[in-house]
Symmetry: C2
Subunit: 200 residues, 2 copies
């Protein structure tokens, strides 16, 4: 709803918005966050810097919105498969290997930058991490309600650490991007056992 309102207010079409986001993501992968300038975005997309600032407020907001636009639409917790394993697998199957590889590259490009850009870190957490955590919490609450996970299971606090950890360390350890097959295997080997949840 907020997105739609913004688009209407500024008369930027969804196609134009998608084109701008694509340029931002290309620059982010090419040069990283710190070297990415609003000038470069403006030049590459033939927009005025004034428009970019009016529309997004600044570089952190523009970059995080561009990343958010790459996520599949909707709330993954809406798809209720009836088991925790089913819900987590369905979430992973929503994103193909090519997207996973691109997301891993984007995360690397941001990992260092968020630590010396407080505005970027705040946007990143509010727009990306917290909504993802909220979706996980709904999926996990259903599993608690079904009796698959104990309500006081200490691993409940660490689901995002487990998942993001697998995602970012895959490249460091195996020199391979995280694939769907890897993440499904990790869910079965680590996440479900940590919750004491059924493996089928």
């Amino acid at each position: 709803m907020a997105e739609a309102a913004t688009v209407r207010r500024s008369r930027i079409t969804p196609e134009r918005e998608a084109e701008l986001y694509e340029a931002v993501l290309d620059l982010l992968r090419e040069v990283g966050y710190d070297a990415l300038t609003m000038d470069a975005v403006a030049a590459r997309t033939k927009s005025s810097k004034a428009t970019l600032y009016r529309q997004w407020g600044g570089k952190p907001q523009l970059v995080v919105k561009a990343i958010r636009a790459t996520k599949p639409g909707g709330d993954f917790s809406d798809a209720d498969t009836g088991t925790l394993r089913g819900d987590l697998h369905a979430h992973m199957e929503h994103t193909d290997d090519c997207q996973l590889e691109q997301n891993a590259a984007l995360m690397r490009g941001l990992a260092m930058a968020v630590h010396h850009n407080p505005d970027l870190l705040r946007e990143f957490r509010e727009q990306l991490i917290e909504p993802e955590m909220a979706e996980f919490r709904r999926v996990l609450q259903r599993a608690v309600d079904r009796g698959e996970i104990r309500e006081d299971c200490p691993a409940l606090d660490y689901v995002v650490h487990m998942m993001i950890g697998a995602f970012v360390t895959r490249g460091l350890i195996e020199d391979q991007p995280p694939t769907q097959a890897f993440l499904l295997s990790y869910i079965d080997a680590v996440v479900l056992p940590a919750f004491g949840a059924p493996l089928s």
Copy 2:
């Protein structure tokens, strides 16, 4: 042993070596891997670039050796406490919060760089990741031998993903460096349950 031989051959004293490594780590935290130059290391440590290249071979080797020098000496798998939980906790208690925070900063500085510097990635894996994995494997093998973990436990393949994941995601999610207390809690909540290992 290899270290000692190198030091002897080049007549660099251990004190001088420590001083050089400290300068490399400072530069790494200040400017990151890509912007770190052998010229800057030479200038800051009043050495000649020729000496640096003769001694270490190149920037990837020098940087990875400098990071390795920050690790506590010895093999953590040597300390056999009699339980997996004891061994993993002992490993964590070896490194204080200040060192953990510095290590996290170094990992962030390298995370992006390793992906477009194949020489750095190779050094990083050979000198840091693989020795760490080998130590974990020895600790886990003892737990299998004691009957704490099943030999075919699928989480055995993922111990380093679990541990490094907790380490690197702590900053992204909670905006805090990984502390000893956090890592001990994560071991009890995630790692031991994933192995089906005793919690005491």
